[in-house]
């Protein structure tokens, strides 16, 4: 479905998350002086007169302040705000409820377009109070979530997601329900909750219309990244490797396809190469940059676990060859992970062997029964003391 251009069904790109992406790129050392990024940002600022955002960029990215330019666009902003305020007053005096609400909505959208967070949020709150219908209220909340994602304001995002969930329970339509899932998934990715993100994304693969957040290819890419790290092998096979929509997009994204299939088909040396590239990609990504080290470490652990799962013991040489690295490298990696308790194995360096010692389920269960039983007994004793007063 999404190959036909459903972009007209998506909401307007306001605020444009691509700009947030570019601003984030400025914080990375290699892009700090990149001309292309600078150009994109200046174009956007000029097009929409984004004075408040310009000030923010000057502060965060250390650009030179062009006072004249700033004054001109601030003047334009002030003018536009006056016009919108006049429209609101006019609507309140002469026209009906609908027009008042629409005038407020226009003002709020203008604030968000110029990148003024506080004013946008307050105006949206005012518009929200004037809005009656569920659908329009949800649209406002989606807009607020988008603003939150643009400025990565976690508090704003979580509050609005909660509100949206309650509203949808009351009676949201399927289109908005799916849209909320995509927004939630994007936020979960930003806070490292990859499992929820993967589930949400996989649910909405066939009904994706949120082009204002990201385009379809980026969406499928995120789906694959989050699913690889969180889904067990059989679910990964059913939902991702055999998923028709995902396969279709993967034809045009050969790198992601290689990454997925190299892990699934146990081709570990290629997987490590692909993982190195994924690391560079994630480092430059707006949502996943804070988590890229965690992601890479977890993927390494799952690759090792997958290999070790079918072996009781295997030679260090074989492991090193399978992953295309030296024996020393494998040794140091495994030691770190074993010491952290993430891998269940032991290295016999003298014999050059790695032995797995999978925790036996029955022993673990016995131990937990004993522990829990003890806790329960203490509590019953406490209870008896209370009752016997």
């Amino acid at each position: 479905m999404p190959i036909e251009n459903l972009e007209d069904q998506g909401l307007e790109k306001n605020p444009d998350l691509e700009l947030a992406h570019y601003k984030f790129l400025l914080t990375l050392p290699e892009y700090r002086n990149d001309r292309f990024v600078h150009q994109k940002i200046t174009e956007a600022i000029k097009k929409d007169d984004m004075a408040p955002w310009y000030e923010l960029i000057i502060k965060d990215a250390g650009w030179k302040k062009d006072a004249n330019f700033l004054k001109t666009i601030q003047a334009k902003n002030a003018e536009e705000i006056k016009k919108l305020d006049a429209a609101i007053e006019d609507a309140e005096k002469n026209l009906g409820e609908m027009e008042v609400r629409e005038a407020y909505l226009k003002k709020a959208e203008y604030y968000s377009r110029i990148g003024d967070k506080e004013n946008a949020v307050t105006t949206f709150r005012q518009t929200y109070d004037k809005t009656v219908s569920l659908g329009h209220r949800l649209d406002i909340i989606f807009h607020l979530i988008r603003i939150g994602l643009f400025f990565m304001d976690h508090d704003l995002i979580t509050r609005n997601i909660e509100k949206a969930k309650t509203l949808i329970e009351e009676g949201g339509d399927w289109d908005r329900r799916n849209r909320l899932k995509v927004y939630q998934g994007a936020y979960c990715m930003a806070v490292r909750d990859f499992k929820t993100a993967a589930n949400l994304f996989l649910d909405t693969v066939s009904t994706f219309t949120s082009y204002e957040l990201m385009d379809y290819k980026a969406f499928v890419r995120y789906t694959v990244y989050t699913s690889i790290i969180s889904l067990p092998r059989n679910q990964l096979r059913d939902k991702v490797v055999k998923g028709s929509e995902i396969l279709e997009v993967l034809h045009s994204e050969p790198f992601v396809k290689d990454y997925l299939f190299s892990l699934y088909n146990c081709q570990y040396s290629e997987f490590f190469n692909n993982l190195a590239e994924v690391e560079t990609i994630l480092r430059k990504d707006y949502f996943l940059n804070p988590h890229y080290r965690y992601y890479i470490r977890e993927m390494k652990i799952s690759a090792y676990t997958q290999l070790l799962e079918s072996y009781r013991s295997l030679t260090l040489q074989y492991m090193a060859e399978a992953f295309g690295v030296t024996v020393e490298f494998i040794d140091s990696e495994l030691s770190t992970f074993i010491a952290a308790g993430r891998l269940h194995c032991k290295i016999d360096r003298v014999g050059g062997i790695v032995e797995t010692n999978r925790p036996d389920l029955k022993n673990a269960q016995f131990n937990s029964v004993v522990k829990q039983g003890d806790l329960l007994l203490t509590r019953v004793q406490k209870l008896s003391r209370v009752i016997n007063i």
């Binding site: 190959i3 013991s313 029955k362 029964v369 019953v380």
Partner: protein, 439 residues
């Protein structure tokens, strides 16, 4: 100019014998080409030079003959120039005649050998633009149809799908069911190559509905059945696939399209092989109807069937090496045979492992005649996919097979009971607190 006109009236009558028709004499060819130059000189919008109806007819005939001649003799550039230069002339003809002429020319161009797909795509795009200028929508749609087929050959799926969407909207408005069925069939093929089976199936259903509403020419019917068979085979429903392939085969066989009929026959044999019925393969090949298609393809399929019957992986591999053209050219056959190979490999391994509880991998590889590393990799994948319960021990170089254990539920049940008891204690505690407060 006057000389040419007089020559036009001296057009020699041509034989009606089909075999001689194309053996034009050199002067006849020159004559046609002169007529063509004259036609090319006609500017699209002007009225000069004037032409009589007889001249128009002659030029038309000349173009038809020349396009056949060029096509037969692979004169790419000449045909291309003819297509482009005769556009002015086409405006003099009625729309239907000019449409037919253009279609014949483009058709003969695309039938030539040695055309790269890129050149063909350019030519078709050119024609589409011209049609758009001249507002010849029917012609444009049929040329766009061929363009989609070329995109599919060229594997530019995004462009193909974009064009398909555009055309389907127009065709639905015009209710042109024949072209709609063809376009939907192409859509189904595109999605199949993109591995999107759900969309491929839905496109095929729309193609069938459109085709059912009109008289469906046997070629189209055959193509629809072939595509249904392929999709069913992808879903591993080989019985239905076999019946569809049989229909296609009958259709092509009875309508006399012998070259097209070998493909469904091959697929029929392939379905029988995937159904694990290699004996049927023999009987089908020896059938009278199929005997005229005997050739390398059938030999290849027969060899695959016999290797399946013997359950021999060596034989299978040697067959693949022996018939690379027949078996490795067609991606559908390749994918199914790879699946078959993997399944046979696994079945062989299962049979070998069954009597053992602990066995050296070297021994397994000797029994199955496949190198140790390959066997080990395959075994580790099978263990990961939980196809059997076992573990590999590389230090001793052996495989240990566990019996499938009955999982003892008692401990998990005990844990659950303890959790519930905890909750009970919680609520009793709360109630006790309340009582003590009241007292």
């Amino acid at each position: 100019m006057a000389v040419k006109l007089s020559k036009a009236s001296l057009l020699p009558s041509l034989n009606n014998d089909r075999s001689d028709e194309l053996n034009f004499r050199k002067d006849e060819i020159e004559h046609f080409e002169n007529l063509l130059k004259f036609a090319a000189s006609i500017c699209p919008s002007s009225v000069e030079p004037k032409t009589s109806s007889q001249q128009v007819e002659d030029i038309e005939k000349a173009i038809y003959k020349l396009s056949e001649w060029y096509s037969l003799h692979n004169c790419h550039s000449k045909l291309e120039t003819m297509i482009k230069s005769s556009r002015g002339f086409l405006t003099r003809l009625s729309k239907s005649k000019s449409g037919k002429l253009m279609r014949t020319m483009v058709g003969s161009y695309l039938d030539m050998e040695g055309i790269t797909v890129a050149i063909a795509i350019d030519l078709c795009k050119d024609c589409v633009e011209w049609c758009q200028k001249e507002k010849r929508s029917f012609l444009r749609q049929s040329v766009e149809c061929r363009l989609i087929a070329l995109y599919l050959e060229n594997k530019s799926y995004t462009e193909a799908l974009g064009l398909i969407n555009k055309i389907t909207k127009e065709l639905k408005k015009l209710d042109d069911k024949a072209l709609l069925a063809e376009v939907h069939l192409l859509e189904s093929k595109a999605y199949h190559s993109l591995s999107n089976l759900t969309k491929s199936r839905s496109a095929l259903t729309s193609a069938r509905t459109a085709a059912n509403a009109i008289y469906c020419p046997p070629r189209l019917q055959g193509a629809l059945d072939l595509q249904s068979g392929i999709l069913n085979a992808e879903e591993k429903d080989f019985k239905t696939a076999y019946s569809y392939f049989y229909e296609t085969f009958e259709c092509y066989d009875s309508s006399g399209e012998a070259e097209l009929a070998t493909t469904p026959l091959k697929y029929m044999l392939l379905s029988k092989i995937m159904l694990n019925l290699p004996e049927d393969v023999e009987s089908i090949i020896n059938n009278k109807i199929c005997s005229k298609y005997a050739g390398k393809h059938m030999e290849a399929m027969k060899a695959v069937a016999s290797s399946l019957r013997d359950r021999s992986l060596d034989k299978f591999k040697s067959v693949l090496a022996e018939y690379p053209n027949e078996l490795s050219e067609d991606p559908i056959i390749v994918s199914h045979l790879t699946d078959l190979y993997e399944t046979m490999f696994e079945q062989n391994l299962f049979r070998i492992i069954e009597p053992f509880s602990r066995v050296e991998i070297a021994h397994i590889s000797a029994l199955i005649n496949i190198p140790v590393t390959v066997v080990e990799e395959k075994l580790s994948k099978m263990i990961l996919d939980q196809k059997f319960a076992g573990v590999l021990d590389q230090r001793a170089g052996c495989l240990i097979v566990y019996d499938s254990k009955v999982v003892d539920e008692s401990y998990s049940v005990a844990l659950q009971s303890i959790i519930h008891m905890n909750k009970v204690v919680d609520s009793l505690y709360a109630k006790a607190q309340q009582l003590t407060h009241w007292n």
